[in-house]
């Protein structure tokens, strides 16, 4: 390197900052506030404003459809009272179904084993007499 050349360059003074810049720059700095929520949201949404606006519009349409759509028919609620006969029929059907399902689930279940002989005192008198 050539130190003379470097020193020669260093001796050239760069112009001063314009004095009239100070007041407006400091004024702008003093007026600046910490970013508000609105500013943060704006900065966040700014890169793709149309995409966000489209998404917001879609949500608005969904809400409007939700509130303006007719009420769906209530299937579960019946207007006719259930009679006692109907209830009995339903109960009978459910019992049969349970029996059928029991057989179906356990088709090879062995028949009930014969009961052991009862004590003599409880045997029918005919048997004792014989």
């Amino acid at each position: 390197m050539n130190p003379d050349f470097e020193k020669q360059l260093q001796r050239q003074p760069i112009r001063q900052i314009p004095r009239e810049w100070r007041a407006p720059i400091l004024d702008a700095a003093s007026r600046s506030e910490p970013p508000s929520l609105v500013a943060v949201v704006r900065e966040w949404l700014w890169p793709h404003p149309r995409a966000w606006a489209g998404l917001a519009a879609a949500w608005v349409v969904i809400f409007l459809l939700q509130f303006t759509a007719p009420e769906p028919p209530r299937v579960a609620r019946s207007s006719t009272p259930v009679t006692i006969q109907t209830m009995a029929t339903l109960r009978e059907q459910s019992l049969r179904m349970a029996q059928l399902l029991g057989q179906w689930d356990n088709p090879a279940a062995p028949a009930a084993a014969p009961a052991p002989p009862k004590p003599r005192s409880e045997r029918p008198r005919q048997q004792i007499a014989a």
Partner: protein, 170 residues
């Protein structure tokens, strides 16, 4: 928020150096002012940025460098405007009463303007801020060897460009 007095003190202590750096880097008066203002607005909004900072000058130079690079990237489409303005470049050096010296300063400003911005930044910080290569590397967030090589290349170009006038001026 930083108080107005703090920002005023920062401005008085460092704005001249930051201005010189930005002027050399951007070579455009309005852009230089915009970035300088953006820097102080940023400091006013986020005073915590200065917490734990030892070298305020180096820190401000780093922030201003980042802002200037952002501006250069953003304004890529404005290059043609800068080319138009290059016919009347922003005066970089103080005017001199000595005609020879004045010519040398004008030629030096032109030669600096022909350097790539990364070399120009290193040359400026080394010559006019008198920073060490280590400090330059930290300020510009580049490796130490890169800072040194950019300075060497930049200075070689300046010497080649200014050799005829320098020999006369010397």
């Amino acid at each position: 928020m930083a108080s107005t007095r703090d920002i005023g003190r920062l401005y008085d202590d460092h704005a001249a150096a930051v201005f010189a750096f930005l002027a050399n880097l951007l070579r455009h008066e309005a852009d230089t002012r915009d970035v300088l203002q953006e820097l102080f607005v940023k400091l006013a909004r986020r005073p915590a940025l200065l917490d734990g900072v030892r070298e305020e000058r180096a820190f401000l130079l780093r922030l201003s460098h980042n802002l200037a690079i952002d501006l250069i990237r953003r304004s890529g489409s404005r290059d043609h405007r800068h080319e138009q303005l290059s016919a009347e470049p922003m005066p970089l050096f103080a005017p001199s009463a000595n005609p020879d010296e004045q010519i040398f300063r004008e030629k030096l400003a032109e030669a600096l303007g022909e350097l790539p911005p990364d070399q120009r930044a290193v040359v400026h910080l080394k010559l006019w801020e008198k920073l060490t290569f280590e400090a330059i590397a930290q300020t510009l967030e580049i490796p130490l060897n890169t800072a040194a090589s950019r300075y060497r290349y930049g200075l070689d170009k300046l010497r080649d460009r200014l050799r005829p006038i320098y020999d006369e001026f010397k």
